[in-house]
Each structure stands twice: as C-alpha cells, then as structure tokens.
Symmetry: C2
Subunit: 345 residues, 2 copies
C-alpha cells in the first residue's frame, strides 16, 4: 500500500466557497451573513469533487491520501475566532464525509480553529470532536497571524494544552501555515517553506520533546530548507550544546517528500534517516504543471523516489507506508481493522 | 586567486562594541551617550583583530575575502534612524580601514543605515560615501524590522532609488537580513535562511530586472531553500507565466556557497548554473564548530567544492574567482589596477 500523507481538499464544491464569502461579507454587513450552516452539499457532489484526486492516485500508483482541508483556506488570520470555529467545523465535516464515503482512498486530517493572539487551548473542543469522528491527525499552524509571526514559538507553553491532547489521542500534527496576508511572503513559495524551516529551528532551540516524548510533528515540503542546510542545523545544535539532531529531534520530527525535483529528493535520502521520511505529493497543491525538463508533473513525487537507486526494498516500504503507519497510529489501527495491517503486523 | 565573497567582521575590537552599548543606552538615558565618535581604534588593533580570518584564509586556501560589518550587528530595527546612521558609518569605516591596510586580503562591502518604515532612499548619502571609499558592494536588508517584515517587498518602488544608485555605481547588493527581534526566528538558523528564500520568491513574482537589467543581487547561504526546492520554483514561475528562471532571474541573481555539508553543495552544483554560484564561507560566521562526521570545520566550504568531481577546471575558476569578478566589477577593476587581472583579461 502506498500512503500519500499530504493532500489538501483543493477541489471543494462551490457551496463551501460561497458560504465562506457570505460568512466574511457578514462581518462587514450582517445582512450578508449566510442564512444557514447547511451547505446543501450531497454525497454525490463530494464524490464528484474528488475525482481528480482519485484519477491521480490511480495514474501515479498511490492508494490512500491523508487528506485535510485546503491549507491556504484555513486563513486563521481572517475574520474572528467565532467565524473561524464555524469555518473549521464545516471544512472538517466535508473531509470526514469524504473519508467515510471513500475510506480506501482518504484518511481524514483536520484543521483547528486557531486565531492570532488566542490561546491554542481554545481549539481543544474541535480537536476532541475530530477524534470522535475518526480523524488521524491535525494541521497545526505555527503562525496564525498569516505572515507576521506574532504568536509565541512552538516550544512555548502557550501551545502545551494542544500537545497534551495530541499525545493523549495519539495524533501527530503536521506543522502547516495557511495563506499569507504579508505582501513579503508568497504563500506556497515563501511562507510555507519559511514556516517549515522556522519550526525546525525552534525545535532545535527548545527541549519540547523532553516534556512530550510521545508528541509527533510532521514538517511538510521536505522540511523547508532543513535538509539542504543539514550541516548548518547539525552545527547550530552542536554550538547550542544540544544532543545530535538524531537524538534531539528525530524520534519526534518527520519530513514529507513534497520536493518537486529529483535532486532534492536525492539530497533528502542522503541526509535524513529513512525512518523520518514520509511519502507525500501535496497533490492538487502548490505546483500543478508539467516539468519541461522531465515531461512529468512536478508534483508526481513518487517518480523521484522510485529513481533513488540507493534505497532498499525495506527502505521504500518505510517511506511509502511503514513510517506513515508509525507516525499516524490511528490510521494504522483503522487500516488493520479493515483487514489491511502493516508489514510488521 | 580564490575569492570568498561572504565574510563578516565578527572579531571587532571591543571599543566598537562599547560604543554601541553606550549609544543605545543613551536612548534611554542621555547621560550615557558616548562622549565621542572617535573610537580610538588603532591600525595595530585592526590588524590584530583580523588575525583569525587571515589564519583561516591561509589554512583553507583562499586569498581575498569580500568583507562587511557583522550582519547581526547591523540591527536596523534597534534605536533610531539617527543612531543607525552613526552606527553604519562607524562600522563601515572600520571595514574601509581594514581593506586599506590589507588590500590583498579584504575587499570592502558596506552596511546601509536602513530603518524600518523609512524610505531606503535615505541611505543614498552613505552609499555615495562608500563609493568614494572604494567599497565594492553593499548588504541590503529586505526586512529592516528584524523579523516582522513590515516594509514592502524588494520589488516595490520603495526600493528603486537605491537600485538606481547601485546600477549607476556598478555595485551588487547582497540581500542579507540582520538579527531578529521576533522570538519565532533564530537569526542564523531561521531568519537568514527565510530571508534568502523570501527574496528569491519576491523576484519570481515581480519583474524587477525589466526595470533594472544591470542590477545584481547576491542571495547568500546558498539561496536559502531555493536550490533544494528548485523544482517548486521552476514550477511556480511557470504557473505565473514567467519566463524560465534562467531568463527571468539568473542574469541578475547569484548564490553563494555558504552551505555547510557536501550533499548541499552537490545539489547546488547540479541545479544552479555554474555562472550563478560564487564561492563563500561566511567565515567566522554562523557555524564555527567541527563536523564530527568529517572531522573538518562546517564552514570550510572550499573542501566541499573541491570534492564535487563533476566540475571542470573552468567551472572551478568561475566559482572561485571569475564570477566574483563579474558580479563585483569594482573589485575586478581594483585588482586589475594592482596587477591582478582575471583570466579573461
């Protein structure tokens, strides 16, 4: 089984987007508020909406996508905490329904109703609801301000109530920002990558996993700049008298393979231990075109991994499936229950 | 000749640091203001202060370092525009004196008295002064706020007056932030790398070099995350209907080799055209330790380049010398005048 751990629902039915427009328009003019939270989205509409993803799964040879709401759509900095709660709930509900309709193709990951300056503990009600619905993880935004970075670093106790719950529920968090309202940062080209790099460096500086040895973070987009600057990060940790990165962070921090060219994936495979690499494509995500240098889609990342000749069969199994089952234990349990245990089992 | 294009004066004599303390203390208590701008730093003190750099040049086999004030010391967000002007001037003067005392070892690059929210054109007086003193380039801070990114992107007309002068004087700018006052961003581990990535993405989005075809930017630290995500950037440019990155940016944008492990340098050599790679070590900079995996200093970047077997002799010449002469034409002219022309001449 090939598990793609990073897919966003970027083909949402129009009524969801219309709702959001009305909801935000309603902040300026209460007359424009949506009349109802019932979006009128049928199961048929949901199935229809994910045909592009299903087609690509088949064409590219992946089986299951860990699926969450559109990352840029979370927009925690937009509106109020209250509109964010409603918006998160509606967005998560669609993911839940898709994963229920197509459990062999999608596993649900949720967004949290974060809001800049508001304690993350306010998200716990939604987090608990997601657990009840069978979600296997959440996206955690390290910068709810949308590009101004005005909340505390991820190592601050500000975030601890959420971490306690994540550990309790055996759920990993993917560290994923949303859109940027700072004109300096293009969202997929700068903000996402910077956030990945920033989060990793915060974790080097802190000792978060001393307090939460069972907490697991996935840093997407190949870990931002981290593998490319692996020597810098090893050296900085050393100067700070931290343990080796393998001991300090790599029991808890994992990287996905959303890196859109072979040399990048080759670098990852060289410097990041194979136990910390999880296959992902960010399918229907940041970069949709065909690479003129290869004739293939940039985001067909499975092809790059297939081309890394140094990987053994066992290592490929880890990247494509085994690590995902380990990092997302609730997914592993669900799969086992449906007669699809992992290799070890 | 081997030219290291990225060195900062991180071994400043104590009187400079004492001055800065008094200057900033003077903002709170005018009684503590420095009595004089005469630091009392002798030529002997300057020579003594750069012995570590000279020793490393000799040990590692480089000849000339393009040398600028401590990057984190610029701290444009600290104090007032006025203290920044005095501070820049004093810092630049020391660089000038060192390059005058040891012209075979150091070529001067200056800091600009930028200040958050203040138009960059206010830096022109200092820029013109630097030209008169024989400086060959400047460091330009894309985020004078120190980690909150509150000024406009580099493609905004806000910056144009400085670009006009840089073109007039045939000077490149290294895009280099300073320290971070945002607790989210470690300076050398996140803020520097993010700024590199951010600047490159801003340049993809804009058309700056249509307006300034002769403007040259050096993006340090290997270009941040850019080479690792070269596929992403090629793909994003393509989606934005921009020309190929080689045409859109690479006549004007150059990357240094401050990447502290061999796999990173190998990746750069694979994806970045050799004409756009300039040797640099950030010597006495971000990462000072010895890599236990190699037994050598992390920042001895020449060793990594020496190990990239695919580079021809001509390509090595470009990386170590030729490209630096092309990107820093004022340096090339100075060297030629002193009987050290480049290969082409």
């Amino acid at each position: 089984m090939i598990i793609d751990i990073h897919g966003h629902y970027t083909t949402e039915p129009q009524p969801l987007l219309t709702f959001r427009d009305k909801q935000l328009a309603g902040l300026a003019d209460p007359m424009r508020r949506p009349a109802t939270n019932d979006l009128g989205i049928t199961d048929a509409m949901l199935r229809e909406s994910v045909q592009p993803q299903l087609k690509l799964q088949q064409e590219r040879g992946s089986d299951l996508t860990i699926f969450s709401p559109r990352a840029a759509g979370m927009a925690h900095h937009v509106g109020t905490e209250e509109t964010g709660k409603v918006w998160s709930r509606l967005s998560n509900d669609l993911i839940h329904r898709i994963a229920t309709l197509l459990p062999d193709n999608f596993a649900p990951v949720g967004q949290l109703p974060q809001h800049p300056g508001v304690p993350p503990k306010n998200c716990i009600a939604e987090l608990e609801r997601l657990v009840g619905l069978g979600f296997v993880g959440v996206n955690l935004n390290p910068d709810p301000s949308g590009g101004y970075w005005t909340d505390p670093p991820l190592t601050d106790r500000w975030w601890y109530p959420v971490y306690e719950k994540l550990v309790e529920f055996d759920m990993p968090a993917m560290i994923h920002v949303t859109s940027s309202c700072n004109p300096n940062f293009h969202y997929t080209g700068a903000h996402y990558i910077n956030a990945d790099t920033t989060a990793f460096m915060q974790l080097i500086q802190g000792n978060l996993f001393k307090d939460f040895p069972a907490l697991k973070f996935v840093i997407p987009h190949g870990g931002g700049a981290v593998p490319f600057h692996w020597g810098r990060y090893r050296g900085l940790a050393q100067e700070m008298k931290k343990p080796l990165l393998t001991e300090h962070l790599l029991d808890n921090v994992f990287f996905d393979t959303c890196v859109y060219h072979l040399p990048g994936i080759e670098l990852m495979a060289k410097v990041i231990p194979v136990d910390n690499i999880l296959f992902a494509s960010e399918m229907l995500g940041a970069v949709k075109g065909i690479d003129p240098e290869t004739g293939h889609y940039y985001d067909d990342t499975k092809r790059y991994i297939d081309q890394v000749e140094t990987l053994s069969g066992e290592e490929r199994y880890k990247i494509f499936e085994g690590n995902a089952r380990r990092v997302y234990p609730r997914l592993d349990a669900q799969l086992a229950k449906r007669g699809k245990p992992g290799k070890a089992a």
